[in-house]
């Protein structure tokens, strides 16, 4: 922060223009209504805030928490600045609390008294601005802002860029409008307001924003009752009333429809015509239900997109090969292909919903879990490895399940094929979980801390997106007909496609080796070997003793792959890339390094996260990144989530994520990190490091 100020001081040493300060979550600048101002008049300059989406700053009464922005002026002799002309705030509900503030762009004009003896020529007005900007977390930002005006006799000349905006802000700011306002605290606290502007006015969304925080309970509903000349609001009294010292005046802003007025209420009975006409039509507090719904809609849409893209992620390839093999078989029977597609879709949706259910259950039980959580358990990885091997052996023709695969068209085989397609869907989801796709992370992050129904909705959207391409393909006979007619090639294809499945099994064993130790891996390998033998035995043909023995061996194999859990889980460093030396992540380490003025690059990763591994190889292990890190005087920290780690889960959640990967670049000069995309290129990382270092 000190460095930032030093840089800013340098930047603004030459007073020539108004420039904006980008503090990371909002841009702030001083802008002028008039470029040229006359001595002895009042000019308006304004603090303009351009707030990042999702973040907010505060009104003069911030509500239950927060802090209003502040300007500390450095003005030429004789010049004085007044208080902010506050724009109409919005309610910002957060759990059981409610704040008052702004999002998006907000312009807060300040009256400046130009002294009568001001000399003609340019004049620079400087101020240090302190503004608290919050999302889930709050960040106090400080910056030096300035604006240069010209003092000249005659009529003021509006500023070409901002004149109209400042004038509009001044016009829109709530002002007294001759309204009569009274309040009474009997059984409830009522605020009655009457006056010409309220006659027949649109009173939907009526809300009273008090100037002081102690008068009302900000988080409670305000119910409105209309009258012919005004309205009555029922409020929940705040501390001032309960302490026995009610205010003599309760002033604030009354919002009705799209209008806002400053009112000053005194104790006393309500004026006439403020009730009797019932609540305003369609009365609904702003942001009381609409905002979460839009949030959910957007989350569901992005989840759908994320699901679509998930099909392109590396984890899903092996299963897609299974799907391709089965599609090839059914391509020339429209009905069978459709049924297959739907069964696959059903498998996908069911599995996603089960995953969501487990996730909800675990989170309700207070566990820190996220996307891909099941792969943090070595037994699950072991069983999955065995399953992949079994599928691969099946595709290699070592054994067959059910009736002859060649008997396509017969009802029985079609039925068998359906459960197969369903199972493919299940498997696709389970192996897809180590990948997060672009868009998906945001949608899953949205579900954090949301009620179960929202989590289910987002997962449903995700599953529909994931299933969509194959289901759509199954319904596109034109495309399917282009495939060659069934024949011997299908068997060859199937055998070729077995190898990605062997690869998937090998990969899972590698993950397991990261989670346990060599002994754990050896046990798992024994399990796989036993499983393979059992399946071969089964494939020899239907003889009771052979099949019995095969099942027994298979059970033994499962028992073996469940074992590695007992092996001591490895912690800390794993899957280290050769080129980039890294340290283990901790919140404290990040803070310490930043205090030393270092650039910090944090990689939230896991051995089972395929996107992470791809990024590691494609981007992070390149010379370009290594050089950029050295040039930026940076330190590379790895947060390894291969095994469960609540601190990492909490850190991910702080950034709105439910899973890995997450890449953060902290610069010494900015309070919050840059968040890199989920698919990296070396240039992207190098660029972010450069930016963080301020070079």
């Amino acid at each position: 922060m000190r460095l930032l100020l030093a840089v800013l001081a340098l930047l603004f040493a030459a007073p020539a223009f108004a420039a904006e300060v980008d503090t990371g979550h909002l841009k702030i600048e001083l802008v002028a209504q008039d470029a040229s101002v006359a001595p002895g008049t009042t000019a308006y300059v304004a603090l303009r805030q351009d707030i990042d989406a999702g973040w907010h700053t505060y009104w003069r009464n911030p509500g239950d928490s927060g802090e209003p922005p502040k300007l500390t002026w450095t003005l030429p002799a004789g010049w004085t600045a007044g208080e902010f002309v506050w724009a109409t705030p919005k309610t910002l509900p957060f759990g059981p609390l409610t704040n008052y503030g702004y999002s998006g762009e907000v312009i807060l004009p300040v009256p400046i008294a130009v002294p009568a003896n001001a000399r003609p020529g340019p004049v620079t007005l400087e101020a240090v601005v302190d503004v608290l900007v919050c999302e889930k977390i709050c960040i106090p930002e400080t910056g030096k802002v300035s604006v240069t005006l010209t003092v000249a006799d005659g009529a003021p000349k509006p500023d070409a860029r901002w004149g109209a905006s400042v004038a509009a802000a001044l016009a829109a700011a709530p002002k007294p409008a001759g309204l009569t306002a009274t309040f009474e605290n009997g059984k409830t606290l009522t605020l009655a307001v009457a006056g010409a502007p309220l006659k027949g006015a649109d009173m939907s969304g009526a809300w009273f924003f008090p100037f002081q925080g102690v008068w009302i309970d900000h988080a409670k509903a305000q119910t409105a009752e209309r009258g012919s000349d005004g309205l009555t609001l029922t409020l929940t009294p705040g501390y001032a009333f309960e302490s026995g010292k009610p205010p003599a005046v309760m002033d604030g802003v009354l919002v009705v429809g799209d209008k806002a007025y400053e009112i000053s209420a005194t104790p006393g009975p309500a004026p006439a015509g403020v009730s009797g006409l019932g609540p305003p039509p369609g009365a609904k507090g702003e942001g009381t239900g609409a905002a979460p719904k839009t949030g959910l809609l957007i989350a569901a849409l992005t989840a759908f997109l994320g699901g679509l893209i998930l099909n392109l992620m590396p984890c899903v390839f092996p299963v897609l090969s299974m799907k391709a093999a089965s599609l090839a078989r059914h391509a020339h029977e429209t009905r069978a292909a459709r049924r297959q597609g739907l069964a696959y879709g059903a498998g996908v949706v069911a599995t996603f919903l089960i995953l969501a259910g487990v996730l909800i259950g675990l989170q309700l039980a207070g566990q820190q879990v996220g996307w891909g959580f099941q792969l943090q358990s070595p037994p699950v990885v072991g069983v999955l490895g065995l399953l992949m091997l079994a599928v691969a052996l099946n595709m290699s023709g070592v054994f067959e399940i059910g009736t002859s695969v060649q008997g396509v068209g017969s009802g029985l085989a079609a039925k068998g094929g359906l459960s197969g397609a369903f199972f493919t869907g299940v498997l696709a989801v389970v192996v897809a979980s180590p990948c997060t796709a672009p868009f998906m992370a945001g949608a899953l992050g949205f579900t954090i801390g949301q009620p179960p129904i929202v989590v289910l909705a987002v997962f449903l959207a995700l599953s529909l997106g994931f299933a969509a391409p194959f289901v759509a393909l199954a319904f596109a006979p034109g495309l399917l007909r282009r495939l060659p007619k069934p024949g011997a090639w299908m068997d060859t294809l199937r055998k070729v496609l077995a190898f990605p499945m062997y690869g998937a099994a090998a990969w899972l064993l590698w993950v397991l080796s990261q989670q346990t130790d060599a002994a754990g891996l050896a046990v798992a390998l024994m399990g796989l070997l036993t499983g393979a033998f059992a399946l071969w035995l089964w494939g020899l043909g239907p003889k009771a003793w052979r099949q019995g023995l095969a099942l027994l061996l298979l059970a033994g194999a499962v028992a073996l792959v469940l074992q590695p859990d007992s092996a001591a889980p490895r912690t800390g460093e794993s899957a280290a890339s050769a080129v980039l030396p890294s340290e283990a992540w901790s919140e404290e380490r990040v803070a310490a390094l930043r205090a030393e003025g270092k650039v910090v690059f944090v990689n939230f990763t896991a051995a089972w996260c395929v996107s992470c591994q791809v990024n590691d190889k494609v981007a992070l292990s390149t010379d370009e990144v290594a050089k950029a890190l050295t040039a930026a005087n940076g330190v590379y920290l790895k947060a390894d989530w291969t095994n469960r780690n609540p601190e990492i889960a909490a850190a991910l959640a702080e950034h709105g994520r439910a899973g890995v990967p997450l890449y953060l670049v902290y610069g010494p000069a900015s309070e919050t990190p840059q968040v890199l995309p989920q698919l990296l290129t070396p240039g992207m990382v190098a660029g972010a490091l450069k930016k963080a270092a301020g070079t």
Partner: protein, 201 residues
């Protein structure tokens, strides 16, 4: 669930009567039973006869950080030296900023910052926070030896996040404690708390 059924019931019964900001009128501080960083359940009744200071905290909040440059620790040392019990309370829900998923994490933080609090309560489900109407971090409550709420509100009267403002601020908690020790009514029993919103889950 960190509250016992009895105290959860007490809190549930107390809430509608008291309303959130109305605690000062009702006077009696709600009892609670919340696990501390050692996993031990702490209640208000176990400290009967002693002054209890409650401090809502969130390590990720700049306003909490402002006071942990020595101000809060100093206050903790002097308050506990004078016989008071100091309970820091973290009401961040899981997945919310500042949440500790384990007592070890909280203890590590306390050690690192030299916290002299008697205990750190992990009010993950926010039941205690809601019963007290804790809105911000920091939000301070002082309970007298009779179990009555003597002070609630901000730690001091300069509501900013800047460390350098502490010097010119009047510490309202210290003032309340001094009033209690001197046997006089607390002159400022309420102030508007400032800081980050408590991150209820």
């Amino acid at each position: 669930m960190t509250l016992t059924r009895r105290s959860a019931l007490t809190a549930a019964l107390a809430l509608p009567v008291l309303g959130l900001p109305g605690l000062a009128l009702a006077k009696t501080a709600p009892d609670f039973a919340v696990k501390d960083a050692d996993g031990k359940v702490r209640t208000l009744s176990e400290f009967k006869g002693r002054i209890v200071v409650l401090e809502w905290l969130n390590r990720a909040c700049p306003y909490t950080q402002k006071h942990y440059h020595g101000n809060m620790q100093g206050l903790q040392v002097s308050a506990t030296r004078d016989g008071a019990v100091w309970l820091s309370v973290c009401s961040s829900g899981s997945w919310q900023p500042g949440h500790w998923s384990s007592g070890a994490g909280a203890k590590g933080w306390m050690k690192k910052y030299g916290s002299a609090a008697t205990a750190m309560l992990l009010d993950e489900d926010g039941v205690m926070g809601r019963a007290y109407g804790a809105r911000t971090t920091p939000h301070m409550f002082v309970i007298d030896p009779a179990g009555q709420l003597a002070y609630q509100g901000a730690i001091d009267d300069v509501p900013t996040s800047k460390v350098e403002d502490i010097g010119r601020a009047k510490n309202l908690v210290a003032a309340a404690l001094a009033d209690l020790h001197a046997g006089r009514p607390v002159r400022t029993p309420y102030s508007q708390a400032y800081g980050c919103a408590v991150k209820y889950g």
